[in-house]
């Protein structure tokens, strides 16, 4: 560990804490949101430092792209000064001090305990079963074969979020921008090919190196958000595309469940994939999941049900 490395880590952690602090305790909403976006950027660097490139890819696509877009859009809808929630019941100052002090004590305790936390250490076991999974990259293997149930339920959670957002009312009509912006359609047109190319590349890479369905779906979704911004996806609002849209939204989950049931028939265990077809099936599930994650992110970004 050289001096340069130490100073790099120190700066990174200091920046992370500062931006996190500002995002939490800054009064002005816009400022807090921008601090949070910068916090996410530094978070991706931390993932890289901790040699977790898969997470860095997902964080880059979701944290920096989609979450920022969601927050900025919501910000344009909220009033400037006042609190938008219910008026909370104000606590007596004594209770507040007590709460802050106990939070500080538990943080100190956590810091003291952290170095001694037991590590799960499943690296050896995963290494041992890798040949039976059909892919060469450990994260993809765990994601879609060994712990596929988690991934299945996660897609279900996302679909539930879409259902919740859509049940709140019709799509929020975007307010017109301040002036005519000819750069926006140009931007979207220039970037379209890349927003198709890069997810394909990430999907293909996912079987043997960092990549896979999550970053691919998130990048595709971010491209969809750009199209929504440039007002280029009229079909999502049209009446007779609605059924297809809903079908596409559930396609990832449906294919996943079908694969699981097929595994139940062939091997007797839900979601276990026989080795012979594993590579092909995992690829198919990944493609369907990437598409439906992308579409679900776009659906969330609409903040309401289209076609109303």
């Amino acid at each position: 560990m050289t001096l340069a490395q130490w100073s790099f880590d120190l700066l990174l952690a200091g920046g992370l804490l500062w931006l996190g602090w500002q995002a939490l305790f800054e009064k002005r909403r816009f400022s807090a949101v921008v601090h949070f976006m910068a916090f996410n950027l530094l978070m991706a660097l931390v993932w890289v430092r901790l040699s977790a490139p898969d997470i860095a890819l997902a964080e880059a696509a979701i944290g920096a792209g989609v979450t920022g877009a969601l927050l900025l859009t919501a910000l344009g809808r909220l009033p400037s000064g006042t609190s938008s929630g219910a008026h909370p019941h104000r606590w007596h100052p004594h209770w507040r001090y007590l709460a802050v002090i106990s939070a500080c004590i538990s943080t100190a305790w956590l810091i003291a305990v952290v170095p001694q936390l037991p590590s799960p250490g499943l690296a050896g076991e995963i290494e041992a079963v890798m040949p039976a999974t059909g892919v060469d990259h450990a994260v993809t293997a765990v994601l879609l074969n060994i712990r596929a149930l988690d991934t299945l339920l996660e897609v279900a959670v996302m679909l539930a979020a879409v259902v919740l957002v859509w049940s709140l009312g019709p799509t929020l009509r975007p307010l017109p921008p301040a002036t005519i912006l000819p750069g926006l359609p140009a931007l979207s047109r220039l970037l379209h090919p890349l927003f198709l190319l890069v997810p394909t590349y990430l999907l293909w890479r996912g079987t043997h190196a960092p990549g896979g369905a999550f970053p691919a779906g998130a990048v595709l979704g971010a491209g969809g958000v750009l199209m929504l911004l440039a007002d280029e996806v009229g079909w999502m609002q049209r009446q007779h595309w609605q059924r297809l849209l809903r079908l596409l939204l559930v396609s990832g989950l449906a294919l996943f469940v079908l694969v699981g049931l097929g595994g139940l028939l062939m091997t007797g265990t839900f979601l276990s994939i026989p080795l012979g077809v594993a590579r092909l099936l995992i690829m198919a599930v990944e493609i369907a999941m990437a598409l439906s994650i992308a579409l679900m992110l776009m659906a969330l970004y609409l903040y309401g049900e289209p076609g109303q």
Binding site: F8, V48, A69, L181
Partner: protein, 98 residues
């Protein structure tokens, strides 16, 4: 080479801290957004330097994603957050001064 690039990466982080100062300082929301963009570009540069250091091509992919998504935040800010034609007078103030 290793030390040179590490020092360069640390310098870029110092650079990004200037962006953090500007995000805090404002004075307009566009300033904050621009400063966030500077941090994003510095992050891309650090990622490229780290990928050269560790000889890890996956990091260039992360940088590529950041570069693609840099435009989305700006476009979103201009079309959805900073809209002039809002009825609310206060929010218009905020667009100019916060």
């Amino acid at each position: 080479m290793t030390t040179l690039y590490l020092v360069a990466a640390a310098l870029l982080l110092v650079n990004a801290s200037v962006g953090a100062w500007r995000i805090r300082q404002g004075p307009t929301s566009a300033d904050r957004m621009l400063a966030a963009e500077l941090i994003s570009t510095s992050t891309i540069a650090v990622l490229l330097l780290l990928s050269a250091l560790a000889d890890n091509p996956a990091l260039v992919d992360v940088a590529l994603l950041f570069a693609m998504l840099a435009a989305i935040a700006t476009a979103n800010f201009v079309t959805r957050t900073w809209t002039l034609l809002r009825q609310d007078h206060h929010s218009r103030e905020e667009a100019g001064h916060d």
